[in-house]
Symmetry: C2
Subunit: 238 residues, 2 copies
DNA sequence: ATATTGAATTATGAATTCAATTTCCCTGTC
DNA sequence: GACAGGGAAATTGAATTCATAATTCAATAT
């Protein structure tokens, strides 16, 4: 992630000059970082399980040096826990963690909504509207997974429209940490219907560029999602 | 930072078990991380300057391996920029960066205020009240630096009272990134007076546990600080 | 004098090596 | 049969080494 940041600066500088594309060579550790992060977020590495360096090295066919560099970064992002001399563990989401992360995401999402309203273009609104209709179609067909994906896309578009990369990065980081939990949120049809209705409001606020309204809606929207996830967790753990 | 997190868990686990103090052995890279971060935040390493690994290795008398691990983490925090094959640079705060970071800090500080009101104890309020009076005294004596320090402490206490370590960590991270810029905010006496008045409101909201009020006040408070910093930057750069 | 090329130097990326700690298994004892 | 002790094997922390890319600087051409 940090590498791309640097690379982008370099990018824009060179492109400004002559418009030719620079050759982007990634370092091993940055590629590892991406892949590992993806694996953790997608649940390919089970939470709570130990991750011996050796096995990862074998899997990716790299030496321990770049791998360890990547692990250090993942630890600083909270995706793994490093214990000195005892190695890495895929961090497990405790209930407390969720309770800490969700309010923050709520605040950030509200902010992103507000800023998006200030900056979003008509084209972007149109794209989100299209996605919205797609999503509604998936809802009517009761296609949970497809709904989930398009839903994510919409929120991602809003984030992009906020024109604040720092905000986007932070939000994505937090989002990655709770993503697994969100899959668990198996909404009832009643709640699902509500969620879709909320999305109607989201679209409306965006179209009207009503920042404070969108902020409020998004915050509530996420708070309710949290309630669902919470119930899912508490009922599932006993 | 990530090591301490792990270490803390380890800590609490062991203390729960037998009450004896655990032996905390830090890894080299985690110590390096701390020291480097401090140096950058404090401005000991000048922004924009290149940081050859060799010189840092010599300075701390360590090999490149743990140093490079620390650099990777600092890069992910945004404190340094890593460019493949070209080394590390202490990241310079651009005006755009500030403009991105401050709204986020505003949102997070507002959230921390709201949560603090829900959780803060009478003792903590009393401590903050004491700090507040200290701060007012420094204001009346026009002791800018001392005021600045106590001011920071107050905001830190609110952050702690919010009982959300994730939030605290995020906020501190962002705060570190703009800390140097904040020193620059050389307020006029008029603005300074206003700031102190705002702090009266902050204290009042805390005492009354009025979360939404505190959230609003803190957000505005920070927004104004941003205005000052912004002016300082724009006037200073031409 | 300035710009350009190419070799020498330096710095970085990554693998390997070495040292220290932990883990695991085996044995012996109670 | 449970448990403590000891030692081998495995795992991690950190230094060193090797390979490759970037930078510097002098020699040459323009």
């Amino acid at each position: 992630m940090e590498q791309e940041h640097a690379a982008n600066r370099e990018n824009s500088l060179r492109e400004d000059r002559d418009g030719s594309k620079p050759i982007v060579r990634k370092t091993l550790h940055s590629e590892l970082l991406e892949r590992l992060r993806q694996m953790i977020v997608d649940g390919d590495l089970t939470p709570g399980s130990k991750v011996p360096e050796k096995s990862l090295c074998d899997r990716f066919a790299v030496s321990r040096t770049p791998l360890r560099e990547a692990l250090k970064v993942l630890a600083s992002e909270g995706l793994v826990i490093l214990t000195p001399n005892r190695g890495a563990m895929v961090s497990d989401l405790t209930f407390d963690d969720l309770e800490e992360v969700f309010p923050i995401m709520g605040a950030l999402e509200a902010l992103s909504g507000e800023m998006a309203c200030a900056h979003i273009s008509d084209e972007e609104v149109a794209e989100i509207r299209a996605l919205h209709h797609q999503m509604v179609a998936h809802f009517e067909a009761r296609e949970r997974f497809e709904y989930f994906i398009v839903n994510q896309k919409i929120h991602e578009r809003i984030l992009v429209a906020a024109r604040n990369e720092t905000l986007a990065k932070l939000y994505r980081g937090l989002s990655g940490r709770v993503k697994r939990a969100r899959y668990l949120a198996n909404m009832s049809i009643a709640r699902w219907t509500e969620a879709v209705e909320e999305h109607e409001l989201i679209l409306k606020a965006l179209e009207e560029r009503d920042g404070s309204a969108l902020a409020r809606i998004l915050k509530d929207h996420l708070a309710r999602k949290f309630e669902i996830v919470k119930d899912g967790l508490t009922s599932g753990r006993n």
